[in-house]
């Protein structure tokens, strides 16, 4: 359903890929939405399917490496039905990507300016060297990196400058959505805060939406507008971050929030989550969290709980979410 207010939506997306031991169902029937100008956090641990979801949703992963079903809309365009040519045209224009360890994503033998031109030439049908040059300088100004670094090689930039350069690259063609996969994982806490503050400021000024993927749920609860929690390839709970922080209902969300000891306030003993993530080759029928959950009942192992609206959020749980209303999904 194309909707001007939605920057990104994934509907009933499933992604599987083949391995020597069989098909791994990395993502199973996921629904996700990012509104215009919103910062949505996608949280989950390794094996939750969060990275696979966005890589498949943006067709970075494609057949025969993966098998994808469902629909993805980016700025009202349905992604999976586009031809390769059309996809290339809208890529970087409507959405762009900041990958993990982005600092290593820069080509070490090309100057930054050349890499920017490369990106624009590939995705801007009206590429013109002079306007492109101006744009390079403009984005560098936006991310506050000295102009001299534009003609430098990546190794001549400091870590923080490289990170900003990659963000600048993502901003080149004024996308409506920037997907960031663990952009601050390799950074120190101070550098991380710097980058997040920069992103927030740019969002307010330029109006793009951000889908931020990270395992650091406490960061998301502080800075994101809404948070989606994934586990075992499914969305477990999603909603506004203050609602989730103060009143998470899904046992996994609650346990995950508990896994981050607080910086201030009373000190109490906290537990992680015992057990290990599920085997995605043979995912359990029923809720993927059933084995590790404190509140499992019989139905949890038999059928997968649907993702439904309940008490101001979306939640997939037989125990904590009652199917009072059918979600519009």
């Amino acid at each position: 359903m194309p909707n001007e207010q939605i920057a990104f939506s994934a509907e009933h997306v499933s992604v599987s890929y083949p391995t020597s031991r069989g098909w791994v169902q990395a993502v199973r029937d996921v629904n996700l939405e990012v509104k215009k100008g919103e910062l949505v956090g996608l949280a989950g641990e390794s094996g939750s399917g969060k990275s696979t979801l966005v890589l498949a949703a943006t067709r970075v992963l494609k057949a025969p490496a993966v098998e994808v079903t469902g629909q993805v809309h980016v700025a009202s365009q349905e992604i999976f039905t586009l031809s390769d040519k059309k996809l290339r045209e809208i890529r970087w224009n409507t959405f762009s990507f900041v990958t993990q360890s982005a600092m290593n994503a820069l080509n070490p033998v090309m100057r930054i300016r050349a890499q920017m031109h490369d990106a624009m030439r590939a995705h801007d049908p009206k590429y013109n060297k002079i306007t492109a040059d101006k744009r390079c300088e403009e984005v560098f100004r936006i991310v506050e990196v000295p102009m001299t670094r534009l003609d430098a090689y990546p190794h001549q930039l400091s870590g923080g400058q490289k990170q900003r350069a990659v963000i600048a690259l993502a901003l080149l063609l004024k996308p409506e959505l920037i997907i960031m996969d663990e952009p601050t994982t390799a950074l120190d806490v101070v550098a991380q805060r710097e980058i997040i503050a920069l992103i927030r400021r740019l969002q307010r000024e330029l109006g793009f939406a951000v889908l931020l993927i990270t395992h650091d749920l406490s960061l998301l609860l502080e800075v994101a507008d809404s948070v989606v929690v994934m586990y075992g390839g499914r969305v477990m709970e999603s909603g506004a971050s203050d609602i989730l922080f103060h009143d998470a209902k899904h046992p996994y969300s609650k346990a995950l929030i508990q896994s981050f000891p607080p910086l201030h306030g009373p000190m109490t003993r906290q537990e992680g989550i015992p057990g290990t993530p599920p085997d995605m080759l043979n995912p359990p029928t029923g809720c993927p969290f059933a084995d590790r959950c404190q509140h499992t009942i019989a139905v949890c192992r038999e059928s997968m709980p649907p993702l439904l609206h309940y008490d101001r959020r979306l939640i997939a749980c037989h125990v904590q979410g009652t199917p009072a209303k059918e979600a519009r999904i």
């Binding site: 031991r21 791994v24 990395a26 390794s46 490496a65 098998e67």
Partner: protein, 310 residues
């Protein structure tokens, strides 16, 4: 574990209690028996070993007896015919296998041992020991192999194959030594080696217990490579007449064939069989080497994947 979700989901398959544990040592062996290349390679090598060990039973005649009709093409009496000196070629091939295998295995093993000693010591101890050993390695790398072998062997008095084996090993260890040194330098920095050293393990215990098990595939690959090289060098030396020309080996067969102008006289059954034998045996070793690569490097494995019907 928290970083990129790689496509090879090893962490997602861990460790439900139902999974049988797969030892690192055993599974490569099992895979060796499933991999097509290694099956072919091992079979051919096994046949050659059998022929070499049971030569007197396999060969119908005495290989050096010059008693048969001269220059007979292959027939039921002489499976590969006779040569211009009246010798049965099939028997010669059979007995020649002994020489070739002996030299290939012995020189290959000796070269590998030397390269291990030099390479791993240099990589682990570093410092001036590394400087000297590296210089030595580079020296032997730079000297042209075959000419050195030729020069050295022409000065040797022939008493059995061991001089040739020693010469081949001495000229062929340098390449493996370099790669073993590089690998040792890298493995040595890993945390588990550091931990072993901190715990007070003696340096030889660290090298043999911690480092070498992680270099097994490299060593094995170097061994096979050295064997192929030794096989070809030995055949080459014999062909040039620098080996003991009275001993029957695949290389000397080629020597005599060339001396008697077998090509000009159309006696193809004299020089083709030894050539094919060398190629077969060398090829089998190479196949084994390729399959080793596939077994130890998961990315090269051919994955049988069942694609679902749309």
């Amino acid at each position: 574990m928290k970083s990129t979700e790689s496509l090879e989901p090893t962490n997602m398959l861990l460790p439900s209690k139902k999974r049988k544990s797969r030892r690192i040592a055993i599974s490569p062996l099992l895979m060796a028996f499933k991999n097509v290349k290694s099956i072919i390679g091992l079979s051919i090598i096994a046949i050659f070993i059998f022929v070499a060990v049971f030569a007197p039973f396999v060969a119908p005649d005495d290989p050096s007896a010059e008693i048969y009709h001269l220059s007979q093409p292959p027939s039921l009496v002489h499976l590969l015919g006779t040569n211009a000196l009246g010798q049965d070629i099939f028997s010669q091939i059979v007995y020649g296998t002994r020489i070739s295998l002996e030299v290939a295995f012995a020189a290959g093993a000796l070269a590998t041992i030397i390269s291990l000693l030099v390479g791993v010591t240099a990589g682990y101890l570093r410092g001036w020991v590394d400087q000297i050993l590296s210089w030595l390695t580079n020296l032997f790398l730079v000297i042209p192999g075959l000419p050195l072998v030729i020069v050295l062997s022409s000065y040797m008095r022939f008493r059995g194959e061991w001089p040739i084996i020693a010469v081949i090993a001495l000229t062929g260890w340098a390449w493996s030594a370099r790669s073993l040194r590089a690998q040792t330098l890298s493995v040595r920095e890993r945390d588990y080696v550091l931990h072993a050293r901190l715990m007070g393990q003696r340096w030889w215990s660290v090298v043999v217990g911690e480092i070498l098990p992680n270099m097994a595939s490299l060593v094995l690959s170097g061994l096979l490579f050295s064997m192929i090289s030794a096989l070809l060098t030995e055949a080459g030396l014999d062909f040039l007449g620098l080996g003991n020309v009275d001993v029957i080996s695949w290389g000397t067969m080629l020597y005599w064939a060339q001396n008697n102008e077998a090509l000009l006289n159309g006696l193809w059954w004299w020089f083709v069989p030894p050539g094919v034998a060398i190629a077969l045996f060398g090829g089998a070793l190479a196949l084994l080497n390729f399959s080793l690569d596939e077994i130890t490097n998961p990315r090269l494995r051919k994955r049988k994947v069942k694609f679902r019907a749309k």
